[in-house]
Symmetry: C2
Subunit: 112 residues, 2 copies
């Protein structure tokens, strides 16, 4: 009876958070969307600039940005005709960097 915060038997992450977390991860689970996120990680960038840079149609970029905005991963700011998008906060960058660290982790020599 020493545990007060645990919801069930395991983990520090409460079960109720899981769906939210999964939604966010699946936002990053698409290459186009992940590249879009990377494009607006550091500074605000316009939709057309993203589209040009990534060689994606403007429509597609806009569709993805709408999802990313709804998931609160990016923020929109209008400047004249253009709309600039930027990552919502620092954590997004941390998540990506941690995952990159995972990728470059030495893999033990496995059988298959």
């Amino acid at each position: 009876m020493t545990n007060k915060t645990k919801t069930s038997t395991n983990s520090l992450i409460s079960e109720e958070l899981v769906p939210q977390l999964a939604d966010l991860f699946s936002m990053m689970g698409d290459t186009s969307r992940l590249r879009i996120i990377l494009s607006c990680l550091h500074e605000p960038i316009s939709v057309s600039h993203i589209a040009d840079q990534l060689e994606l149609s403007q429509s597609l970029v806009s569709h993805h940005l709408r999802l990313l905005k709804a998931a609160r991963m990016v923020r929109a700011e209008r400047r004249g005709k253009q709309v600039f998008y930027v990552a919502a906060d620092q954590h997004v960058q941390c998540v990506i960097e941690d995952m990159a660290a995972h990728v470059s982790e030495p893999h033990g020599v496995e059988d298959e």
Copy 2:
């Protein structure tokens, strides 16, 4: 001409990593799989134990574990009849914690 490491115009994450990262993120982008990952974050746990705990069919858990293993997010270890799975390294936990921090970040008061 001062940049030597940047692949294109932005980001510290090289473009070649993007597909790998996206694959990993989409592994975490499914609620069942994310819960499975959480189940074996801290210590090895058997397939049937995971299935019981999460109330998922054993078949489904096994299918997901196969994907997670292929993505090198978990490791399998046989102990008699049972197979125990455990998260591959610490980074997975970091990623999840960072994302949880993102969720609990104060959202500026937006219009919609």
